[in-house]
């Protein structure tokens, strides 16, 4: 999946693994090895990508694998307005679909809830 990320605006195309190395060197992403973010049974987590939202209700302890931004990466990332991409949507949707009922229940958010949570 990582290799599919398109990086625009650079001098020449480079493999994304190389660019991830740059991000790691600059301290923007946490260690290159996959990091697991733990959640516990009965945790309800609001998740989103772009304008798509869903609540994940964990039915048992669970670890999310992925690449996390460091504190400094999060700070700088919060100043950047991300663009929605098809790849980003696919990753998010595939992730939601990857849960079986024993692991987590996925619930979409109604328009009313979006307004209440000031998501729109």
């Amino acid at each position: 999946m990582k290799e599919k990320i398109v990086v625009t605006g650079i001098d020449k195309p480079r493999p994304y693994s190389h660019l991830l190395g740059l991000l790691d060197d600059a301290g923007l992403v946490a260690n290159m090895s996959n990091i697991a973010k733990p959640y516990f049974c009965d945790d309800k987590v609001l998740t989103s990508y772009g304008n798509e939202y869903a609540i994940v209700h964990f039915k048992k302890d669970y670890k999310i694998n992925g690449l996390l931004l460091t504190e400094i990466g999060s700070k700088i990332g919060s100043l950047y307005s991300p663009r929605e991409t098809d790849l980003g949507k696919t990753i998010y949707r595939d992730w939601l679909l990857s849960f079986d009922e024993d692991t987590a229940l996925i619930r979409d958010i109604s328009e009313q809830e979006k307004k209440e949570k000031k998501l729109v």
């Binding site: 605006g9 650079i10 994304y16 991830l20 998740t47 990332g77 991409t85 992730w95």
Partner: protein, 201 residues
């Protein structure tokens, strides 16, 4: 409005007031009277619109004045002896730096103007060290994306001093183009769970 709503509205006004005054202070010593004026305006409950307008007007006046000085300096340059030319060239460069700095502060003002968050009312100020670093970086030649990040960093500091540390600011000011685009591409595909995370599935 009920008491609770009134209280919340007062905190909102107060939090935004301080953010705008902090931003006005970033304009330097010339703007001290402006930040005092803004404090009065907030006291008069003229709130957001008047204050942002005041900063906008200050920036326009300042830009006009700098353009006038620069024009005069360029005229003087033609007739000036060699030694004097070096000084004039340096003065012109200083003006160009200030113009770049004010352009970014103007963008920060726009960012603050569009802010709908509830801001906390605290007396913390942007640290002088942070402000010095910001001014140094803002005066340099910057790409559009870097200008955006610097402007948003200043707006964020005005809203909540300490939110963007000096290290993050330094990285914004010095990161290479490739690094920024790699970072942007990663953020573009990150999901919020609830922190941004690039899911590996």
């Amino acid at each position: 409005m009920c008491d609770e709503e009134n209280k919340r509205a007062l905190v909102d006004v107060s939090g935004m007031k301080k953010a705008v005054v902090r931003l006005a202070k970033s304009l330097g010593e010339n703007a001290i009277s402006l930040s005092d004026n803004l404090t009065d305006k907030y006291a008069d409950n003229h709130l957001k619109l008047t204050s942002h307008k005041a900063i906008g007007e200050f920036l326009i006046q300042k830009a006009k004045s700098l353009a006038k000085i620069e024009k005069k300096l360029r005229q003087n340059y033609i007739d000036a002896p060699d030694v004097e030319r070096i000084r004039i060239r340096r003065d012109i460069q200083e003006i160009e730096k200030e113009v770049r700095q004010f352009k970014i502060i103007g963008k920060a003002k726009d960012e603050l103007e569009s802010c709908n968050e509830t801001l906390t009312d605290d007396d913390k100020e942007i640290s002088p060290h942070w402000m010095d670093k910001f001014n140094e970086l803002a005066k340099a030649h910057n790409e559009d994306w870097r200008e955006e990040l610097l402007a948003k960093a200043l707006a964020s500091e005005a809203k909540k001093p300490g939110s963007i540390g000096p290290r993050a600011l330094w990285l914004i000011g010095t990161m290479e183009e490739n690094l920024f685009h790699a970072f942007a591409a990663l953020i573009d595909v990150c999901s919020d769970i609830p922190r941004r995370i690039f899911l590996s599935i």
